[in-house]
Every structure is written in C-alpha cells, then in structure tokens.
C-alpha cells in the first residue's frame, strides 16, 4: 500500500469535496464536519461516477406525511439512480451490508512528519508548517 499526499487541508473545507486521480483511480475526498473520508468514484450499484453526486442529508424515516432532513452533509446521492451512501462508511443507506462504496483510508498529517517520508507527495510541495490530507491506496 502506498500513501499519497492529495491536498492541503484548507483546499477541502468542511462541506466540500474534491475528486482526485491517484495511480489510475478516481477518488473523492470529502470533508464532513472537519473529518476526512475517501470513496472510490464509482457507484457499486450501476457504475456511475458516484462522487459527482450531490452531498445531502438523510431523510429521516418517519410517520406518514412527516418529512425531516437530518445529518446534513453526511450522505452522498448517486447522480444516476439516487442511491444514498453514508460518506463516513461508504455504506448504502438502504442496503448497508450488501452494497458499499469502496472506501479508502485517509488521514491528516503534519508537513514536518510528511517530509520524513516515505510518502508520495505527487505534485505537492509540502511545507512543514502545514497540514495535509494523505490517502492510502
């Protein structure tokens, strides 16, 4: 497994995400309320570019005629069939055990740790005083 520096932390503020290509794979890196998650940009159901879907909340299952949106910004809705995936786990909301978007480990590292290696910095000029998003593939 290799680790890749994919962004400086300020590049992906909370509530946003970035799709990056790392060693031939497209991966979406999401900042959900300050925590980073990474998902393969392919829907496990029908093959859509999942990370191009909309980041949404969860429509809470409720009584008839009751509508409530909770956990705003924690889910990803596929741009084709609208299946919902929990960003933190990659699990499909409707079928969490069987349908799961491929998830990758992602961590925030300090620049001074990174320069010691053995990480692949790709195009990043890592400054020791900054924080970076590091993806493990």
């Amino acid at each position: 497994m290799k680790r890749y520096v994919v962004a400086a932390v300020p590049e992906i503020p909370p509530g946003t995400h970035k799709i990056i290509e790392v060693s031939g794979r497209e991966v979406g890196v999401f900042n959900v309320n300050g925590a980073f998650y990474a998902l393969l940009n392919r829907c496990p159901h029908g093959g859509a570019a999942l990370c191009k879907g909309t980041v949404v909340g969860l429509v809470r299952p409720g009584g008839v005629g009751e509508y409530e949106l909770i956990r705003k910004g924690e889910f990803l809705r596929c741009p084709w069939h609208g299946w919902e995936f929990e960003i933190s786990s990659g699990q499909s909301y409707c079928d969490p055990t069987k349908v799961k978007a491929r998830k990758f480990d992602v961590a925030v590292e300090r620049g001074d740790d990174l320069v010691k290696g053995p990480y692949v910095a790709e195009t990043y000029n890592v400054a020791i005083e900054n924080d970076y998003v590091v993806l493990t593939l």
Partner: protein, 370 residues
Amino acid sequence: MSHAVLERPPVGSARTRTRIVDCDLHITARSAADLYPWLPQQWRTHVETVGPHIRAGVYNQEPHPRMMARGMRADAYPEEGGPPGCSLELMRKQHLDPNGIEFGMLIALGRGIFEERNQHFAAALSHAINAWQLERWVDEDERLVAAIIVPQEDAEFAAQEIERRASDRRFRQILLSPKAQEPLGRKRYWPIYTAAERAGLPVAFHPAATGGGHPSSGAGWPTYYLEEHNTFGTIMQGVLTSLIFEGVFERFPKLKVVAVEGGFTWAPTLGWRMDKHWNRLRGEVPHVPRPPSEYLREHVWFTTQPMEEARNQDHLRDIIDWLGWDRLMFSSDYPHWDFDDPRYAFKIVLSEEERAKIFHDNAKALYGLK
C-alpha cells in the same frame, strides 16, 4: 461482501461488449427552435405565441415530478446548456463510445406530440422531429437508427407519415405512447397498424410523462412518483390486452410490437390470466380465435431497462424462459435517471448465447440491423 459487488468484472468480454444494440436512447431538441428548419412559418409562430396545449395541468413539469434531476442522469446535462439528450457529442462520450454501442435506437420523446391536443400542430411537429432526427442524429453517427414519431390521435396523418418514411431505412420502427385517449387496440387507431404492417416496421410503445387525459391507473390518479412509475408496467399490460382482445393481431398478422421501458416480468402472468379468462369468455370475443398468450408470444418484444431484479436469480431466469430468450432486447434509457449500464445491468449470469441474444441478436433480427 460488498467489494465483490463493487469490483466484480464488467459483464461480458470486450468482444461482445462492442456489439451491443441499445433499444432505448433518448434524444430531444435543445429547444423548439432546433426544429425550425423543418417547421413551416405558421408553426414557428404557433410555438412562440401559443405553445403546447396538452392534456395535463402543467406543461413544463411532469404531473408527478420525477426524482433525480428531473428524471435525468445528473451528469447528462450538457455544460453548454440544454436538456439531457440534446447533445450527440455528450451521448458519444458518456455512452456510445465507452459502452461499445454498435447500434442505438433513438426514442425522441419530448416536445409532447403524443399529448398535444392541437392535431395540426402535432402533425407539423411530428414531421419536423422525424426530419430533425435524421439530419442531426442518424446522419451524424452511423451507429444510430430512428423511430418514426407519430401522434396516435390523428391516425390518418400518422399513417401518411409512416408511408412517407417507410422506404427510408434510417427508420427502423414506429413510436407511439401507450397512454392514448382510448385503448390502442380500438379501430380508430388501425390505420397506424395498416401502415406499419405494410412498411414492415415494428410499432414500439414507450411510456410518456403525461397521458391521454385520464388517470394513469384504473385505480385512479396516483399521488406519488413511485406509484406513477408503477403504471409504466400496468399501462403496457393494458395496451397489449387491448391489442389482443380487439383482434389487432388477427387483422394484422405480420404486426410486431415492442414494449419499451415497460418491464417484462409481468408478461407471463398476463398471458396466463388472458388465457384462463378467454377460455370462459371467448364467446364475447369470437374475433380472437386463439389463446391470447399465443399472440403475446408471437408478436411482442420487450426491452430490458429498468432491468428487473429478483432476490433469487433462478426466479428471473424462469421468467425469461417463459417469455422467450428471443424476445428480450437490451436497452439503457440513456440519459434518464434510471439508466442501465450494459456492464452492470444484469445481476443474473448469462451464457454467451443468452448474452448474444439479449445484447444484440434479437434486436438485429427484429430491426434488420446489419
């Protein structure tokens, strides 16, 4: 294990994938102005001063608003504007090229000719759309073939338009909405079948968003899109029931029909039910001398999308066995929201022979594609 689902190899080899026939590809004009080169001045003025007049309460939104980007793949809106399905370039990039489509059947919905109440306008639009399909799509990409769009309520004009286009092999079928004002087996629609049979072109039925001015279900108007979507299947059953019991296939023995985007798993049970009650009630319909399921089996083809799924794969195989492996044809429904990617649509494992039939041979035989 989920990753098995995620990372399973795309179904079919690269060789078979390059031979896919897609029986349901949607195109639409960027705006009515795209059709102006083929619309007489009277109707260009009509577009701008009257506009559509349809059998529904609103005309630029579906009566049951769809999910997901107005029922479209959210990624299929062209960057330069316009609705999904208006850009050949994007269709090539998103679907035709990467998915190895050898032939694609254009289904030009939109602009509402099936629902238009002004029959003169519907006729003019239909004529223009047919010309536009050829010049802007079929002639631009050799993989594409077209369906002749006709307004079913004006059967006389529809028959003339079919006759005008019949010898043009860029057209391979005729397209109707199953939600007509009356059940489509009734005699007022027969001129369309006369022309279709004479032209040797199948008649395809594709659900339209708005209907013939009556509820989309016999149970009354649905409330939600989920319910409305279910009517795509029940409406299709209604069309076939009507065609069969009105004796259309007796009167037009060479007529072939295609149920597009209406599902197919209901077909065996429909056949059984028709047979059972035809046995008891055949005295009422002496013009239907054979068990109804025979007409169904002989005259009707089905497209796959939205692909039916069963928990147990064998159950779905049973259905296709009963339906006939020679009657099912792959369709993607690009660029609609419930698009089926040919690599992932089938959850059942197909033999090479079954795959060949569904993904190309059946459609090539029906439409004479070579």
